[in-house]
């Protein structure tokens, strides 16, 4: 079955993906940090029994202890699980749909972390799917909930709706113009947070950022989503304007085609070099300078992360072996 990210989606020149996450806990059991392995397994079995009794034919159930380190890290690279969860073993499990668009982390920080991913900007659609799954679970399970402070979560920062909506954006032009610090400040005043989606710090790999809502108590899901959407659309139009300026400069145009030349011909590609060049090429493709489908580029960004290469290739155990495979795969994809 083809994966969710093989799609371009709305605002696809700038927006890579949308994600909705809901945190839920069962009233009867202590939160995972206060629960032993037998208790966690019980919680997981309970949730599994509900999920698989209804609509579960499409889901697979993966115990984290059965995954290799590489497989677990690869799931985190694809943003299907959190890095914290990748480190978990006994007592944690993942429920994953065949197209990987729906993932449910069991006994992460909360009993349930349900996430739905969609290509492009699709906040309402992703929320709708998450909401329906949540309601299906709610019909059978007794959630930890309080009228006054909403869904009860291990960390009080998630109380209320316990919903995080995030949008992943490619912002090479705004980054290039040195606008990201200013934007991050503005955005944080609006109750949102922005940060690198791959790697840390102020200059994230591939100029890919993730913007999410920060406040969850006292604001409905619909309002939080509408706020996020309006900020994302503003960022999108600012990025388009900045990119249109940038490509008028012959030096920048040259850079785009040189980057494509390297990606089409290199015999070795490290993660860092790949992310730097693919970002430049994606800018060119998004603005119509280069005729490569955006979804092909998006798929490469997902599949060329190191652990994901290693998980799919038995002979890619170390970085230099991966660099060979990465260069070959990218070359073939861009022919």
């Amino acid at each position: 079955m083809s994966k969710w990210y093989i799609d371009k989606g709305d605002q696809g020149d700038i927006v890579l993906s949308t994600r909705i996450r809901l945190a839920r806990n069962l009233d009867e059991f202590p939160f995972p940090a206060k629960l032993d392995i037998a208790g966690k397994n019980k919680v997981n079995e309970l949730i599994k029994s509900v999920l698989f009794s209804n609509d579960g034919k499409d889901f697979s159930f993966i115990e984290m202890k059965d995954l290799s380190r590489i497989q677990a890290v690869s799931l985190a690279e694809r943003h299907l699980i959190s890095p914290e969860f990748a480190a978990k073993k006994d007592g944690s499990a993942l429920v994953l749909s065949a197209d990987e668009s729906v993932g449910i982390m069991l006994c992460e920080e909360d009993h349930i972390r349900l996430q739905v991913m969609k290509a492009g900007l699709a906040l309402e659609e992703a929320f709708d799917i998450a909401d329906k799954l949540d309601s299906m679970l709610d019909a059978k399970l007794k959630y930890a909930f309080d009228e006054r402070i909403g869904y009860l979560t291990q960390c009080p920062t998630n109380l209320g709706t316990a919903m995080r909506a995030s949008v992943m954006l490619h912002l090479p032009a705004l980054t290039r113009c040195g606008q990201m610090n200013r934007l991050a400040n503005t955005v944080s005043k609006l109750g949102l947070t922005i940060r690198g989606a791959y790697g840390e710090g102020s200059q994230p790999k591939g100029d890919i950022y993730q913007i999410s809502n920060q406040i969850t108590l006292g604001i409905t899901e619909e309002t939080a989503i509408a706020n996020l959407k309006s900020i994302v659309l503003q960022l999108v139009s600012q990025e388009r304007a900045a990119a249109a300026e940038i490509i008028k400069n012959p030096v920048e145009e040259d850079k785009i085609f040189r980057a494509l030349g390297v990606l089409k011909n290199a015999r070795l590609l490290s993660t860092d070099e790949f992310m730097e060049l693919i970002s430049v090429v994606r800018l060119g493709a998004a603005r119509g300078l280069i005729d490569i489908p955006i979804e092909k580029i998006n798929e490469l960004i997902v599949s060329m992360q190191p652990a994901t290469i290693s998980a799919g290739n038995a002979d890619a155990s170390n970085a230099s072996a991966r660099d060979v495979i990465r260069a070959r795969t990218v070359r073939e994809a861009l022919q």
Partner: protein
């Protein structure tokens, strides 16, 4: 340990990250963590907010150190432990320490009135037995059968236990 970003302040925030195909942990002070955008546990980078939140609650510590320690009846967590770790033990902790937690919740979110989705009426939750509990139950049934000298049945139950202990989950 000093903060890996500024090298000046004590690192209080530990962030698990995926770097070059492997798991890595960064150690940051709370200022740098906030500055670098790691101020939220939820969207994938696994910031442990407990220190920040613990700091919030820390302000009120003196008022609660006197007298006998109150503990959550379900999970046994005390308010001190929540204040230090920033982690709440279970749903009943919120009920037990509601008034004490409220000021911090208000400082984090600004508001303290939930609006949005609510839960359905309490459903009849299915019961789940762990393997250990199943085995426990079967053993009791086997002893019962032996006591009644129903050895055929006892042998059958013994085989079931063996199958369960043999790692077959279902």
């Amino acid at each position: 340990m000093l903060c890996q970003n500024c090298g000046k302040n004590e690192a209080t925030t530990h962030i698990k990250q995926i770097i070059n195909g492997d798991m890595a942990e960064s150690h940051l002070c709370s200022d740098c963590a906030a500055h670098l955008g790691y101020s939220d546990v939820f969207s994938g980078f696994g910031l442990n907010l407990s220190e920040l939140f613990g700091g919030f609650l820390g302000d009120m510590m003196p008022s609660i150190t006197s007298g006998k320690t109150q503990r959550c009846p379900k999970c046994g967590t005390s308010f001190d432990e929540i204040a230090h770790s920033g982690k709440v033990g279970c749903a009943d902790c919120y009920r037990t320490f509601y008034d004490k937690l409220l000021p911090s919740i208000q400082r984090i979110h600004g508001k303290i009135k939930h609006s949005g989705k609510t839960v359905s009426a309490a459903p009849e939750q299915p019961k789940i037995e762990t393997k250990e509990e199943k085995i426990e139950k079967l053993k009791a049934a086997m002893n019962d059968a032996v006591a009644k000298q129903d050895f055929e049945n006892a042998a059958k139950i013994r085989d079931e236990i063996k199958a369960l202990e043999g790692g077959e989950n279902k």
